[in-house]
Every structure is written in structure tokens, then in C-alpha cells.
Symmetry: C2
Subunit: 204 residues, 2 copies
DNA sequence: TTTCGACTGTTTTACTTGATGGGTCGAAAT
DNA sequence: ATTTCGACCCATCAAGTAAAACAGTCGAAA
């Protein structure tokens, strides 16, 4: 094993430990000492691998985002219709956000912890999502599935609808985590909204 | 002028004064003394007309809601298509929320002031909005404008999409008030989303 | 019937203080 | 040379507290 791989693995172990803690208690309620304890190191050692606590958290989120990214890429490669791809995209996305909510990243209460701090992280990923949607829409236009006179920002509006539906539900959330029932009804709502959207842009 | 009208007018004057204050400073930053001062009365006198501060604020909101209600009712009476009515509904609704945002009722920061306190007030009005949408959709179904196999909750999903788009924008708002630019792009977004929705439920 | 001055008891605020926890550094271990 | 850590620093936060501000009351006056 190369030196480089050794470091990567150590980092990965730390990220896993951090992920567990953050998922349970949220960013601000977790101390570096605790995470260090979990991986049986001194706190100072963590700072050998991650320059700040924020960076560690960022890495946790980044890992999750990459997970989703991979899943979405798989969808694109399938040979199904653009409509089906869009539906599957929405489903994967929901699964992803269920994790993020448990990570305490999205709830109203941890919102103030995070705001500007991770805004960039999320807006970068929004770009990624947007490109996926655009790709699917272009595909749909190419094979005459969708109307050809769609503007550039159809994808953006669709993304905003999805974001909005989630945001709306989160707003009335008391604790950190959405209960199973609410999550399910949100899922259903997104699915139906997606159906309407697809119908709305479908070639006549 | 009857005694009753006299009271109504006094109340109205107080509500107007309160509205101004609340719009500028938000619920918790306004004192009853200040409002009393504005209408040149003692604070105790306000309590002759309104049992609590909350009730006064409630009245302010209620007045705005009734304004919107009247406007929407006018829309229903027009003899335009259901699609056009839905678009106009969205437009009126936007105008209304611009006022509410200025009233500090909707911003993330005043959210904690208000939460459960006015939840009922808003969920009651949601019922009203929902009925308008349902009526429009039924009308569209009746004259073969919209698909006849729409379920009961198409209206609900549409309302949630609108709520979501607004909610999403509000989330990243710093101060109390949305700037003009953001408001305008939100308006455009809602308009386009409505178009897609209408297209999505339109009879094929 | 309507207004208000003078009160009351609770809630906020402003301030203090002690502890917590993010981050550093130089030395020790490997 | 790379990795670990004990000991330390200092900004931030939590708990406690005392004083002020405020919602709401009451009895009397207009």
C-alpha cells in the first residue's frame, strides 16, 4: 500500500466517524475531541488531516454528494425514455436528501449554523444537478419526446420546484428529522409534480 | 353614524397604525405604547378594542387576507378561460405576499416569533386558497379545458408548488424584505411553473 | 360608553463569569 | 520524513443575575 493510500484510508475512517456523530447531533453539537475519541486519536491529530472542523464536515457532505452523483450517472446510461429518467432522478434525489436531513444539514434549526458557510458547497452541487436535468431534457428534445421550443431555464424551474417542495415541508419541521409519514407524502408529491411537469413539456 | 360604525372606524384606525409599525419593525419589535402613541391614545385604550397584542396583529393580517379574497373572487366572475383565471390567481397571490413579506410575517428571521401562533391563521387561509384553485380546476374540467381524470389533490399539489417556490426564495433572504429583483424573478418563475402545470393537466 | 393614569407580574435584555471547545505548536514517537 | 499528541491559548458560549421594558389590569374620571 502506498503512502498516499494510507492517508486516504485514515481520512476515510475519520470521515466515517464524523459522519456518525454529525448525523446524530448536528454540526455544532459535535466536538472535535469526540470524533478524535471515536477513532482513538488525539484531537490535534485530526488537524493533521483536516485543517478545520468545517473542512471535515464539508468532506462528509462531499462524500454523500458524490454518492448521489454516481447514482445519477447510472440513470443517464440506462436506455429508458427521458421521462422515466427524470422520474428516477427525482427518486434518487429524495433518497439523498433523506440522508442530508439526518445529517442535520437541512433542518430549519441547524440552518443558522450553516447558512453562508456551506452555501457555496450546495450551490456548486446545484450546478451539477442542473446539468443532469438539462441533459435529460435535451435528450427528450432530441428524440421528439419533449417539445422543442423549451427555453434554457425549463431545467432551472423544475429544479426550483423540487427544491421548493422540500423547503416547504422542512419549514414546519420541529426537530431535526422528518418523520416517515411526512417523508413519504413529500415523495409522492414530488412524483406527481414531476408527472405534471413532464406532461407540460411533452411534445404535442 | 351608528355607535357600531364608530367602533369599527376606531378599530380601523388602530389597525392602520399597527400595520405601519409591524410592516417596518416586525411583530416583536413593536410595543403597544408606540401604536397607542401613533393614534394619540393611551395604551390601555387599545385594550378596549383588542384583547391582546396578538389579536391586533391577527386583525392586520386578516384585513390583508380579505383584500386578496375579494380580488380572487373578482377573477372567478370574469368570463375568461380556466387557464387564464389560474394565471391571474397566481399574479394576485404574488402581490399579496409582497405585502406580507413587508409585514415581516414571512421572513426566516421573524419565523420564530410567529410559528405556532399564527399557524392556524395561515392554514385556515390555505383552505380558502385551495377552494379557489379547486373551483377553477373543476370549471376547467367542466368545459373540457382540463383532463377529466384529475384527482382531488391536483389543486393541493399546485398550491404546494407555489408555496414551495416562495419558501425556497425566502430561505436565503437575509433581511426582512426581498429586493425588487428577486421578487421579479420569483414572479416570472411562478408564471412559468403555472404554464407548465396548466399544460400538464390540459385535455389532450 | 370610552379613555386613561397608575399598577403588577412576567418576560427581555444587558452584563458578568466560568467553562467549553476550535485551533496551534513544539516535541516525541514511529 | 511522516505521523501523533500533550499542553496551551483565546474566542465564543452557557448559566446566572439584576435591572428594565413590556403586555395586560383596574378603578376612577370624562
Amino acid at each position: 500500500m502506498s503512502q498516499d493510500d494510507y492517508i486516504k484510508e485514515k481520512e476515510s475512517i475519520i470521515i466515517q466517524a464524523a459522519r456518525k456523530r454529525f448525523a446524530h447531533y448536528g454540526f455544532s453539537k459535535v466536538t472535535m475531541d469526540e470524533i478524535a475519541g471515536d477513532v482513538e486519536m488525539g484531537k490535534a491529530s485530526l488537524y493533521y488531516y483536516f485543517p478545520t472542523k468545517e473542512d471535515l464536515f464539508r468532506s462528509v457532505i462531499l462524500q454523500e454528494q458524490n454518492e448521489l452523483k454516481k447514482n445519477i450517472e447510472l440513470i443517464l446510461e440506462e436506455h429508458s425514455s427521458a421521462s422515466e429518467k427524470l422520474q428516477e432522478f427525482v427518486e434518487q434525489r429524495m433518497k439523498f436528501f433523506k440522508v442530508l436531513i439526518n445529517l442535520g444539514t437541512l433542518s430549519v434549526h441547524s440552518y443558522f449554523d450553516i447558512k453562508s458557510l456551506f452555501k457555496k458547497l450546495f450551490s456548486d452541487f446545484e450546478e451539477v444537478e442542473l446539468n443532469f436535468i438539462k441533459k435529460i431534457i435535451d435528450e427528450g428534445k432530441a428524440n421528439n419526446e419533449f417539445s422543442s421550443d423549451l427555453t434554457e431555464d425549463s431545467a432551472l424551474i423544475f429544479l426550483h420546484i423540487l427544491q421548493g417542495l422540500r423547503c416547504r415541508v422542512l419549514r414546519w419541521t420541529k426537530g431535526q428529522n422528518l418523520d416517515e409519514e411526512t417523508h413519504e407524502s413529500l415523495q409522492k408529491e414530488m412524483k406527481t409534480a414531476t408527472e405534471y411537469f413532464i406532461n407540460g413539456i411533452r411534445k404535442k
